[in-house]
Structures are given as C-alpha cells and as structure tokens.
Symmetry: C3
Subunit: 245 residues, 3 copies
Amino acid sequence: MFQAKLKSETLKSVVDVVSTLIDEAKFKIDANGLSLKAVDPAHVAMIDLHIDKAAFEQFSANDTELGLDLDKLRDVLRLSKSGDIIEMRQDEERNRLVITVGNVTRRMNLVSTDGMADPKVPNLTLAAKISVAIEELQRGIKAAESISDHISLNANPEGFEMISEGDTDMVSLKLPKDLLVSLDCKDAIRSLFPMDYFSNMIRAIPIGTVLVINLGNDLPVRLDFEIAGGKGKVKYLLAPRIEND
Amino acid sequence: MFQAKLKSETLKSVVDVVSTLIDEAKFKIDANGLSLKAVDPAHVAMIDLHIDKAAFEQFSANDTELGLDLDKLRDVLRLSKSGDIIEMRQDEERNRLVITVGNVTRRMNLVSTDGMADPKVPNLTLAAKISVAIEELQRGIKAAESISDHISLNANPEGFEMISEGDTDMVSLKLPKDLLVSLDCKDAIRSLFPMDYFSNMIRAIPIGTVLVINLGNDLPVRLDFEIAGGKGKVKYLLAPRIEND
Amino acid sequence: MFQAKLKSETLKSVVDVVSTLIDEAKFKIDANGLSLKAVDPAHVAMIDLHIDKAAFEQFSANDTELGLDLDKLRDVLRLSKSGDIIEMRQDEERNRLVITVGNVTRRMNLVSTDGMADPKVPNLTLAAKISVAIEELQRGIKAAESISDHISLNANPEGFEMISEGDTDMVSLKLPKDLLVSLDCKDAIRSLFPMDYFSNMIRAIPIGTVLVINLGNDLPVRLDFEIAGGKGKVKYLLAPRIEND
C-alpha cells in the first residue's frame, strides 16, 4: 500500500536525478519513505537514493514496490506549477498508480520490476573529499563538453581541478581551496571519467546544492548530495576510465 | 471595396482561430464587418466567424470577398508589436491586398476563392451548455494529448469532465459545478471527439476567454466564444467519433 | 606577443560581425590594437574591422597575427555573462591562444593563416549617405526575407527605401527623411543586393547602433558602424546584383 502527497518540486528533483541514468525505475517503499538503487544499462554508473517520509506532505505506506516509467512522471510534472501538491495512490488490485494534480487525474499502469536488479552499492575507501557549490561545476562542465569525451578530476591540498583535454584544445576549471566549501585531501589525487555520464550527473543536480565529491586514484567517484530540503539523500557512483599510456 | 485599420491583437486572434482549420480563407466583407464560414479539408470541423466593424479602428467597405493565405497574414503579424495598428486596403484593379504596419508596406496577391465552398452551419439542438474559463481546459488538454487519439466530453448536473483513455493510461480533467462559470445540464451527456482537432481548437482560443461548450449525446459539439473584446464571435463545430463497442 | 583583457560584450560584438562572413579569421595585432580584413568564401562581401587598444581593459602587444576559429570563440562567450572580463594570452612557443574567464581556462590551437588573403579594400565614391538607427532596418528586413532573394536599396532627397519584390508579393520599408538620423543625397539612387548577405549583416549589427549606408547606382554598398563604445570601427562592403531586364 502506498498513498502520499508531495510538492511538485520534490517529485521533479527525484525524476531529474534518476532519469539521468535510467528510463524505468523500481522504487522500494516502506513506512519510512521511498528508496531506489539502480545501475544504468551500460553498467558504468549507479544511483542510490533515499527520500524520507518527512519530505512528503503526507505519507502512508506498507512495504511495496513501484515500477515506474520516468517519462510518464515527467508528463505529470509538465502539468503542475512550482508549489502544486501532487497526490499519488497505488491501486494494488489493478496494478497501477493514480496521480492527481489539481483537477487533473492521471492513471498509469505500473511497469514490471521482474527484470530489474537490486545492485549492491560497493563500499569504497576514497582518499579525497571535496565539497563545492554545484553552480561552480555546472559552468565549467558546459565549457568542457565539446573538447573531449573524457574528463579528469584532480585534487590536492591546495584545491580541485577538472580538466578536459582534446587533440588541439583544453579546458580546465580550477577551484582553489577558498572557492570550495571544504577540502579534505592529503596527496595529489586523479581519476579520469567518461564526459557524458559525468556531465549529465552534474547537470541533473539542482542549483543551490552543495555537492560532496569523494575521489580516489583511478577509482570510481562518489557524488553525495541532498535533495528535498535535506530530507532526500542521493549518491551517484561513476566508474573510472582507465587511461592507455 | 475594403479599407480598414485594426489592432494587431485583433488580427492575431482572427488568424489564430481560423488557421487551426484551414490554410486559405475566403472572407466575406460588407458594410457591417467581416465574416467567414469554412470547413476543414477532411470535413470534420467547421468555423463560423463574424467580426463586427466596431472591432476595427476604422472600417469602410462595400460587399466584397477576399481570398487570403493565412501564413502571409502571420508574416505580417510577426512584424508588429501588440498595440500596433495594421492598415489593410484592397487593390481591386490588381486583385491584391496592401497591408501597412508602421513604415513597412506588404503587398500580397489575393488567392482565388473559386473552389472555396460556402458551408451551411447546421442547426443543432444540444442538451447541455457548459461555460468555462479556457485556461482550465488548456491545462487539461496538455496532459491528455499523449494518452490517446480521442477524448470524451462528459456533462451531468454536477459538473463537466474530459477523459482521454489509452490502453494502459488515462487522464481525466474533472470540473465540478463550482469551478465552471455556469452549467445547464439535466441528464448525463457524453460524446467522443478526435483529440487533434479538439486540442488545436482549445489551444487557439485566447486566454481570458469564457468558452461555451454546447454538448449532446453522440452529436457534434459547438464551441462558442468571443474575440476582439466581444466584437467578434466565433463558433467551432466538431463532428463526433462514433465508438465501436 | 599578445596579451589582453576585454569585456565579454566587446568580444561578442567582434565575433558577431565577423562570423557573418567567415568561419576562421586572421586578426592582425600591433601596439595600437587589433584589425581584420577578410572576404567571404564566395567573394561577394568584405569586412574591414579595427578595434583600438582603448576598447580593451588591458592591452599589450607587438606585431603578430592570430588565426582563430570563430566557433571556438563563441564557445568561450557562452561561458561568460555580460560584464565578465575575458583574458587572452598568445602562447607563441606552442602556437596557441590561452583564454581565461573566471576560474575556467580554455586553450586552443591557432589556425594556420597561410591560405588567408589580405584583401584590398576598394576606394569607392558613393553618391548617397544615409544614417539610420539599426532597429529600423532590422524590423523591415524580417518582413522582406521570405519575399525574394534580392533586395533593392533606394535613396532620394526625400528619404530611404528598401524594397523586396517577388512574383506575387512585395515588401517595402520606407523611411522618410525625418525618421533618419541624417541624409545626404542629391539624386535618386538605386542598387540591388543579395538578400541573404544583406540580411545577415543587418542582423549582426548590435542594437543601439547608428548605421551609415553609403550607396551608389549599381555599385557596392558600404555599411559603416562603430562597436565597443566607438572604440571599434567596422566597414562591410557588399557587391551589387546586376539586374536582367
């Protein structure tokens, strides 16, 4: 059983961060809230999301699972303005979700979750931890996208740097320590990542967010951030690209 | 003979509501104003429009006919800002229309009206009459478009409902009596219509308009509304889709 | 050697007016500023541009040449907001340009200028000189574009007129003397030009500019205007189309 009301902004931030990696999602719901663990089809990136029931205007649920087509949720969002309350109700008998926004009711069949795996989130030890306002990265990523299909993330005790280098051109965004929210880094650290995945993740994160980048040497990066006013927590994991020398 | 001045907003609302159904129009003009009756190429919908001479800033005409390409009128509108005065003058000798906006003069050949029929607007007795702010419907229609290629309009003494139902999904916009401007309906009434036509009509109607929906059981719907500050009257007729049970 | 700082608006106006005619540009730089003379690939139009060093926030240079891909400069502009300062530095050793906007550094290889000609700007005697606010022409050109692939510019002692005439339609923009900034014209003058070139030039000129049109009879037109607050001077030359009677 699942019945809840939430602000359209909250649903929008969930749809944005999840649809970066997958088209259909299996949300697990229990009395405490809603969660999702999923891997993208190419097995390069992972999302681990939890939205506490306190992020909802109203929430009542027993253990259940919802298979949802994210494009259809986006259609619902197009109907609503910021501040609108969206009501969701699982119709277990007919295996569908009924969504109400103002006078509009949208009913959608649930998607089968049979083939959807339950990925294990790996426990990584990552040497550097960089906290930064997402806006700083969004500006830099725009400049970097056309240069190359990979991007290197670099940290040292003085600051953080993203570098994208092509055959003839290079873009670098350098953030010295004083432009970061915080920096915890003892040695020089560097990993290389696929540009498209990293760029899509950075763009999906709502402005106003402080992003925590957990970085190692040729290891996956873990991006931690909060949505829904701190009542939702998201982790993105992205596998590194191994460089050929 | 035809010579007139009108506000660009007035011309825009005429072009918007007419071009929903046809590309070229035969406007009939007499000393009282301008009128048009036309059927779309597939003979599914009809428009009956009359603009009183009082809607114009200046108007002088004898009985005449103008065959106009609506895309060219739209080009003229792109030139003008809201509040601009557009001057039109028929050049009978050379069979063309001369339009002036500010310092720009646009001359266009008239389109032959030989093949354009003069449809008779059928006299329908429709049981229900629903008056509603167009904005209410425009929001609902956006949600309904992707669901199905038809839409049902329903009325009963309690209110009005639009329903679009596909194989797996459904959208309904329910407007109880108190959200309508007025409702005159004794029994439950329902007709089904092609989505694309209905949606294009609803979208073409200017915001701020009160729309009167005249609805029967498996009968055409007639949409009545005013443009040009009440000095223009428009009727859309749309044929029903007959359901296969 | 070249090292300079300039406002992003200044760089934007240079990129806009130059990229109308060419994709890659050879800028000549000396202690007084930056200049460019170039012909479009079809040899129909020419640009002659000079930006004084006073247009820069900071400028230090010896005689040098920079071959630049204008699309890459446009990418840099996308990164910056109005008011941002852009820093440019030639790296002579590695034959590249290093551009810095805020925390972002963009490095680009210079383009070879070997094949780029140094066109001579012809010395024309043109009988009429029309000064006009660019906005007047931009509105008219929008109306004229769809009518024909050429446009005639006409001047006489009473005013200026642009006319575009197709098989069935005509657009004219008539600016009597009192709507011009100034008019110096003794006899009736007329030349015909290719629409696409003339339209692209008119659209590339920043709003707020007073354009000086130097016009003759079946002669090239020269468009003179200033950018960068009067510290940059641009001349466009456009060859006439000879009419077949």
